[in-house]
């Protein structure tokens, strides 16, 4: 079957979805996007990593930046900030290079490690794309945090892979119906860049029915 790229979802959306499924829908289905300080800074951090197809060789390590990735089974595509390929006997051959390599994605993030899992699920999704594209197993990957200037290792478990898979399933389900879900609002809304578009207060206010009944 021919895959229709139109219905491929943006990989980076999974972090929005993890944070709030409504936020994801507002951005990816309704295509509403409010840039605020957080997202502008986020782009700034990316500029360094965002140099398409720059290959760099350092010893036994091959570094590829801004690498386009996709997964047909998850129906998603996106870009890896950095993929480091280590020469390794259990690795896979890479076109244009000698020897075999193991890929390890590194995703750059602003700020410091977050309590939520949104950065982690994005990284796992990248891992799953690379595994599918290269036919290999990737046991671990890294998140690099701008504020602490350090990378944090993330072990990729099957449990995580299953979770990411089911998240994409849900995202496709909403996307196919073009449905923006209603969600439980809460403290996390305060740091949400889409607060003004989402209007969480509309979801928590009294029902329209009880508002109407006041006029009987």
């Amino acid at each position: 079957m021919v895959n229709d790229d139109v219905d491929y979802l943006m990989l980076s959306g999974i972090q929005h979805f993890r944070f709030c499924s409504r936020q994801w829908a507002l951005i990816h289905i309704e295509q509403q996007w409010a840039e605020n300080v957080l997202t502008i800074e986020g782009q700034h951090v990316h500029e360094k990593a965002d140099q398409p197809f720059l290959r760099e060789k350092r010893g036994n390590k091959l570094i590829v930046r801004a690498m386009p990735i996709r997964s047909h089974s998850l129906k998603t595509n996106g870009i890896c900030d950095v993929v480091e390929f280590y020469e390794h006997k259990d690795g896979v051959p890479i076109h244009g290079e000698t020897g075999t390599y193991l890929p390890i994605p590194v995703e750059y993030k602003r700020g410091k490690p977050k309590r939520g899992q949104e950065d982690v699920v994005q990284l796992v999704a990248q891992v799953m794309c690379l595994e599918e594209m290269l036919l290999c197993d990737i046991p671990a990957a890294y998140l690099f945090y701008d504020e602490i200037k350090r990378r944090v290792k993330v072990d990729i478990t099957d449990e995580m892979r299953n979770e990411v898979q089911s998240m994409f399933k849900q995202m496709h389900h909403y996307f196919d119906r073009r449905h923006t879900p209603k969600v439980k609002t809460g403290k996390h809304c305060v740091s949400c860049s889409l607060q003004n578009l989402c209007m969480p207060e509309l979801m928590s206010s009294t029902t329209v029915r009880s508002y109407m009944e006041r006029y009987l």
């Binding site: 309704e30 295509q31 209603k182 003004n196 578009l197 209007m199 979801m203 029915r209 009944e213 009987l216």
Partner: protein, 343 residues
């Protein structure tokens, strides 16, 4: 300038809008009146425009911010539309629901409920304010009939039945309309609603008020990206702004009828403002129409607290508030469309 939900409304005439950095800058004759972060808004809507910079238009198109230009009196002129599909989805939902009887009835019943509720509270207010001038028991009786109709409407999912209930309520309400005319009874009287052409002064004023209201509502719907021609209560008919007529139902009483009564009861209209044609049609003179429209525009500047949004706005923005709420309902954000209800 007014922020309604996340729409920036510029209601002062001759305002120029531009973009500086990430901000919309609002200027009047080279004087800066304000600046707001552009990302705060989903839409910007300007009445009586001096202009907007191409840079701002570009940014709005790119960020999918609806930038709409209306004339000073609120007529829709143009909208800057980017390539996003947000509007397409909204319109398709609007069309899909309009083809489904039950879904249409669910929306239509809230328009009708509010229409009757607002008529009822006009009667109640009259009974309270002028107990010596009107037949209070009769007003109370019709008011309770309207309450009965409202209760029935809340559980109706049948469009024909809704239209029936609405017709009955309208008859009962208009039976009392003549009693609400408290001044100049010799020239202002009301027997029944007639139009095309109106054959008495009161009907001439009602017709003009409804025309003005319809144009405001049409603009408001187009401003939020809805199709004013595809409705739920009113069926599609070429050239008829059915959705505008739908939304107008709930606003007729509060915005048009009350305004007409005020113009009469405050003696703001005289017999010299009307001419009668040979065929019995009653028209307003040019002066009469000008006076009426001027007062209509002034009325739109008066403020109120929106009953559902709890936000302070002016009357001119009420149609916009309802259009925004209808779009929110169609997008699935609210479980029902919250109509405009006024006590």
């Amino acid at each position: 300038m007014k922020k309604l939900l996340n729409t920036l409304f510029i209601t002062t005439p001759d305002i120029y809008l531009s973009l500086k950095g990430e901000n919309v800058v609002i200027t009047h004759e080279n004087q800066q009146l304000g600046r707001f972060p552009l990302h705060n808004f989903e839409a910007i809507c300007t009445f009586g425009y001096a202009g907007a910079s191409p840079k701002l238009m570009y940014a709005c198109a790119e960020k999918n911010i609806n930038l709409t230009f209306l004339s000073r009196s609120g007529r829709f002129l143009a909208r800057v539309v980017g390539e996003s599909k947000g509007n397409v989805i909204l319109r398709k939902t609007q069309y899909r629901l309009s083809e489904n009887e039950v879904e249409s009835a669910k929306i239509a019943r809230n328009f009708i409920f509010a229409k009757i509720a607002n008529q009822k509270w006009i009667l109640e207010r009259m009974a309270r304010d002028y107990p010596l001038r009107i037949d209070v028991p009769m007003f109370k009786q019709v008011s309770s009939e309207l309450t009965t109709a409202m209760k029935a409407i809340l559980v109706t999912e049948d469009l024909e039945r809704l239209r029936g209930l609405e017709g009955q309520a309208a008859t009962a309400y208009f039976k009392l309309f003549d009693q609400m005319i408290l001044q100049q009874k010799d020239i202002f009287y009301f027997r029944n609603r007639n139009r095309r052409p109106p054959t008495d002064n009161v009907n001439a004023l009602l017709s003009l008020a409804y025309t003005l209201l319809a144009s405001d509502v049409t603009s408001a719907l187009e401003t939020v990206g809805l199709d004013a021609y595809v409705g739920y209560l009113h069926r599609d008919r070429p050239g008829r702004a059915s959705l505008a007529l739908d939304v107008m139902e709930e606003l007729r009483g509060v915005m048009a009828d009350r305004f007409v009564l005020k113009m009469i009861n405050k003696k703001m209209m005289q017999s010299t403002d009307f001419v009668q044609k040979e065929n019995g049609a009653v028209l307003l003179t040019d002066d009469g129409r000008r006076k009426f429209i001027k007062a209509w525009q002034e009325r739109k500047q008066e403020s109120l607290t929106h009953p559902y949004l709890n936000e302070k706005i002016n009357w001119g923005l009420v149609p916009h508030a309802q259009a925004i709420l209808l779009a929110r309902y169609l997008r699935g954000d609210i479980e029902e469309y919250p109509p405009f209800l006024w006590k």
